[in-house]
Amino acid sequence: MNDRPADAPHPASLRIEAIEALLVERGVITSDVVDTIIETYEHHVGPLNGARVVARAWIDPDYRARLLEDGTGAVGELGYGGAEGEHLVVLENTEAVHNVVVCTLCSCYPWPVLGLPPRWYKSAAYRSRMVREPRAVLAEFGTTLPEDVELRVWDSSAEVRYLVLPLAPVGAEARSEDELAGLVTRDHMIGVVR
């Protein structure tokens, strides 16, 4: 969208720098607070949280039942929660059902379990098309859904945030929770990959 040379700063960058400088000078905020917020979402809150939730659900049927009944509470059991996760609903993929999540109106996303949304989730293409031609969009992620699998699209644009619980791999019960968590990607939990 920008014609600036690759090494020129983004105009918004200059403006944000000015805003931060002014807020700091006037004693409104301190920069370490901003640093800490960035660090939280760069290093502490991301898809690994969601992956641990999924792995636990794969090996613990009681946890799985609680997770599907009350996503917020069950995710909280593992210590996850907070902003943009105040009311979590977990969507269960089965052999017969596949779920996928989008936000057409902005980019609502379950931060506590997935971190901040990826670029493509925020794109106009994803937002406009996932509700109208989900199978075509899934194909762009390399996901071909058999015709007889029921596709459920969730436009999460109000207060509930959605997390997809992917199908467990064969033999999940025999594997460790850590090992299983390593198999779960962000894309599984959004539903663009099955």
């Binding site: 918004a12 960058s13 200059l14 944000i16 720098e17 000015a18 805003i19 931060e20 400088a21 002014l22 807020l23 700091v24 000078e25 006037r26 004693g27 409104v28 905020i29 301190t30 607070v33 901003v34 800490t36 917020i37 960035i38 939280t40 760069e42 809150v45 009350d70 917020t72 909280g76 996850y80 907070g82 902003a83 996760g85 105040e86 009311h87 057409t104 109106l105 902005c106 980019s107 506590p112 901040l116 990826p118 794109s123 106009a124 293409a125 406009s128 098309r129 509700v131 109208r132 989900p134 199978r135 029921e150 596709l151 459920r152 699209v153 969730w154 644009s157 109000a158 207060e159 509930v160």
Partner: protein, 214 residues
């Protein structure tokens, strides 16, 4: 409002720009924007919330901007609206950049830690409140025709369409911020009812406040 942010169903935006980037910010200023938005909110230095501020961006600009550019615009509008900064303050500072002066070395570890903790503080219970609900799970509901000027969360593509209530997650104040908690329903629509005879098979689910439904 009925704005260009309401993109569901539109053509013209091309293929999804799929990538495997896992970091949340492409450039440092995007992270600063995000952090400043939250910090300024916690400091009571900005008014408004993120979405209405973003929807107020002129349509051509909205479409041309990236995600965090919209956040930056919404942050600026909120700071100006709250009287914390003026547009002239910012313009002047952009034209004559210099490092922050007074307080530049200040830190506030207590606020930083408190805010970080608050951001990831898991609630005791889901946020939806127990409120009276006109519709029950299983009811057929039709989305009203409307064209509200204020902030709302009822996409155009479901207007006039009938679906089935599959869950009643609770009540929240309406997106416009007014009034007490109001029942929200998760409504399931058949794709064919939304997009016509050429639609893909499947279902679309949307959380809708009671005021949108008949």
């Amino acid at each position: 409002m009925e704005g260009v942010h309401d993109m569901g169903g539109m053509h013209g935006f091309g293929a999804v720009p799929v990538d495997d980037v896992q970091l949340p910010f492409d450039e440092p200023w995007e992270g600063r924007t995000f952090g400043l938005f939250i910090a300024a909110g916690a400091a009571g230095a900005r008014s408004g919330s993120i979405r209405p501020g973003i929807e107020a961006i002129a349509p051509a600009d909205y479409l041309a901007m990236g995600y965090f550019e919209r956040w930056a615009r919404s942050l600026e509008a909120g700071l100006v609206d709250a009287g914390t900064l003026t547009v002239a303050d910012i313009d002047t500072r952009v034209r004559t950049p210099r490092p922050p002066g007074r307080h530049a070395q200040d830190t506030n570890p207590k606020m930083a830690a408190g805010l970080a903790a608050a951001l990831i503080n898991h609630p005791r219970r889901p946020s939806g409140e127990d409120v009276p609900a006109r519709f029950d799970v299983g009811d057929r509901v039709t989305v009203k025709r409307m064209a509200p000027e204020g902030h709302h969360r009822c996409p155009r593509y479901v207007r006039g369409v009938t679906g089935t209530v599959i869950r009643q997650p609770g009540g929240w104040p309406h997106a416009s911020g007014d009034g007490p908690p109001e029942a929200v329903y998760t409504v399931r629509f058949e794709m064919g009812d939304l997009w016509g005879e050429d639609a893909e098979a499947g279902f679309l689910h949307l959380d809708l406040w009671e005021r949108y439904l008949a």
